[in-house]
Symmetry: C2
Subunit: 407 residues, 2 copies
């Protein structure tokens, strides 16, 4: 028998054992290099992609970015390093000394001792000019390359930061995370706009149904969270949801992300609204303190500004209804108290002929029912809201919508 | 114009404003109550479900659980509180005083002053007897109720803890989180076992394809992560993946979760293996320190013990190949260096007639290509491995496999 504590001891002894491999030269990300204090000429290695090249008579300036931050690291090299290969988009490895920069715009710069081009890039073939700040709409044609622009770089770093913040908020508030299913036999919201799932035609035996029942992509994790809130009291999920909606509007996607929470023993909408407000504030504060430059870039060059203003001035959730609509973005939050009384629910299901299919849902009210409620937050809409991004397709890495499923 | 810092100020002033509603009586989760130090008779409110009732001549003992921990809170009440409603499974709200417990098994107990039954439960109708520890296989028939057992409660709390730990590990290591798409037009691994996605037959116009191209559920986020590693250097995703595999084995699911990472500028398999090892250790240490009782329960009552022993004694990753197979569980990790050379890749794609479809993938090598690599970790297999759970269907809230898509 190998108990938990014995496993823990094994892992601990592993992690304190000295690493057998020789320690490599200090490799820094651009973010780490930019934040280095007391840079007194330590030798470091930085890897990334060239964002710009400026060649003077005796000196060559490169800006190198590796996606760890919006800002690039300035590399200063002797002009005899210059070559056609050192061009926008090329990947490089630079060895050198990290020193204080005489320029105002940055704290440190890297005095190059060796520059190795890892992979070439011919800027003439690259589909957009970096400095021309191509419109977001144009960039959507290149889902494999747009992440290399400042704009998408900032948006996706914020998306990553907000994702981590949402997980932290719920964990710190005592919620249990649940992976609600993507494929479901519940036809959750009744009528259409569902995607159906079947084994690819290559392998399908036509008469057979893989799951024995028709199966769909989830439109909400609510019912599954209700199951779990009867065991864990406070639960949340954060995953993809789907609508087969025939819309190419700037507000809709066929695949988008929802944060959903369900809470047992709630007494009023106020209880729910407190959690929603906590979630919004906590995530936004974390984003603003961890990537202020990225948010600033979005506000400066993309947001007309109104949305954020309108939103903040509304005084969050100080309204009677629990749906929160944001001008220009749509419904950001929707929440409600659920019907917890067995007989009411039974009647409603019976009148719709759904008693048998939803006996399990009735069971939740038969065995220790509690007043409960929950809410959903559209994650892309949240990002649009805090960043002021007009089109939902620009805040998700690979947008899917009618007539479009690139990559 | 409403900048990031102004928004931050607004949020900060919000959060320090006094709450207008009257402060409710101290409401504690069972976990919080059990951890209370210096319990000197503070008045508290606890809500949860009755796990057991023991009635003595003058005293009534209830154990109340709310899913926040494996352990229940002992409630001690005068025997005149006794009633038929106070039975296994009923939901209750208990007001009382938190005091030191004379019993050895717990630090504190709740001396009840008021017990309110919120929702009844008739134990005769409940499909399993709690104390009989029904086998996991039997419990699978009741996906809406099994989470109320100790076994599934522990497993799902560990799953939640591991999820949070995985996000933390990557964030702390400087990785950017990417939501790789669920619906994709890439037929990633070539041949079959794909699920195809189409609008539900109710709304489908047969001749039309919603996305204009055939669309499938993802089998891996690797290619999309490769796109992103060309911008952010270190990226990861943690989401559902799918196989339309006709298998009801204890090792396979149609819908399961993968953690995948992709790293630019890697020099060797060692670089990847270091990250894999860090991920495994960091997640496992966090699980073991945050929910030791849950892990212990799994080991004590469910694990035969061999798997963990075999695993730990193998000395993680001290092997030449980067696939890690765990006896009884299957492939836990699989990783590789990718082909970064344009001409090699071009030739291979050409010989398979895929050049046109994968021009975007070639582009990644045309514009600043870098040596890169990545790996995937099966999340359910990871849980099976650390908990010693035999069947993959018992470590996911709602298992989907051939002939089964309950709820």
């Amino acid at each position: 028998m190998f108990g938990a504590w014995r496993l823990l001891r094994v892992l601990r002894s592993c992690s304190s054992a000295p690493c057998p491999r020789p320690k490599p030269a200090a490799k820094l990300s651009v973010r780490e290099a930019l934040r280095a204090q007391n840079s007194n000429g330590e030798r470091v290695k930085v890897q990334g992609w060239i964002r710009s090249v400026r060649s003077q008579k005796e000196v060559l300036f490169l800006h190198v970015n590796d996606g760890s931050s919006l800002e690039s690291l300035q590399v200063v090299a002797d002009s005899n390093f210059d070559s056609r290969e050192l061009a926008f988009g090329s990947s490089v490895e630079v060895h050198g000394k990290l020193v204080k920069s005489p320029a105002k715009r940055q704290n440190v710069e890297l005095k190059a001792e060796k520059i190795e081009v890892v992979g070439n890039c011919d800027p003439k073939d690259f589909p957009f000019k970096y400095k021309e700040r191509p419109p977001l709409e144009y960039l959507r044609q290149f889902p494999h390359l747009r992440c290399r622009t400042n704009a998408l770089g900032s948006i996706l770093r914020v998306r990553s930061e907000a994702t981590a913040a949402i997980h932290s908020f719920f964990k710190d508030s005592g919620f249990v995370h649940i992976h609600t299913p993507i494929i479901t036999s519940n036809d959750c919201e009744g009528a259409g706009e569902l995607f159906q799932v079947e084994p690819s035609s290559k392998i399908k035996v036509p008469e057979e149904n893989f799951f024995d029942v028709p199966a769909f992509l989830t439109v909400s994790g609510q019912l599954h969270l209700e199951v779990m809130s009867g065991a864990f009291t406070q639960v949340f999920t954060f995953g993809p949801t789907f609508r087969a909606e025939n819309s190419q509007s700037r507000r809709h996607l066929a695949e988008f992300y929802m944060v959903e929470a369900e809470i047992s023993f709630v007494e009023s909408l106020q209880d729910l609204m407190q959690v929603m407000e906590g979630l919004f504030k906590s995530a936004t504060m974390m984003v603003l303190s961890n990537c202020p430059e990225d948010v600033e870039l979005c506000h400066k060059f993309m947001a007309p500004g109104q949305k954020i203003r309108t939103y903040a001035e509304k005084q969050l959730f100080n309204v009677a209804a629990v749906d929160l609509l944001v001008p220009g973005v749509g419904e950001l939050f929707g929440g409600s108290l659920r019907e917890e009384r067995y007989h009411f629910l039974e009647q409603r299901l019976a009148s719709s002929g759904l008693t048998e299919a939803y006996q399990w849902y009735l069971d939740l009210r038969r065995f220790g029912s509690v007043p409960h409620g929950g809410f959903g937050m559209g994650f892309e809409r949240y990002l649009q809201c805090i960043l002021g991004i007009d089109n939902i397709k620009d805040v998700i890495p690979f947008p899917r919508f009618t007539h479009s499923c690139l990559l």
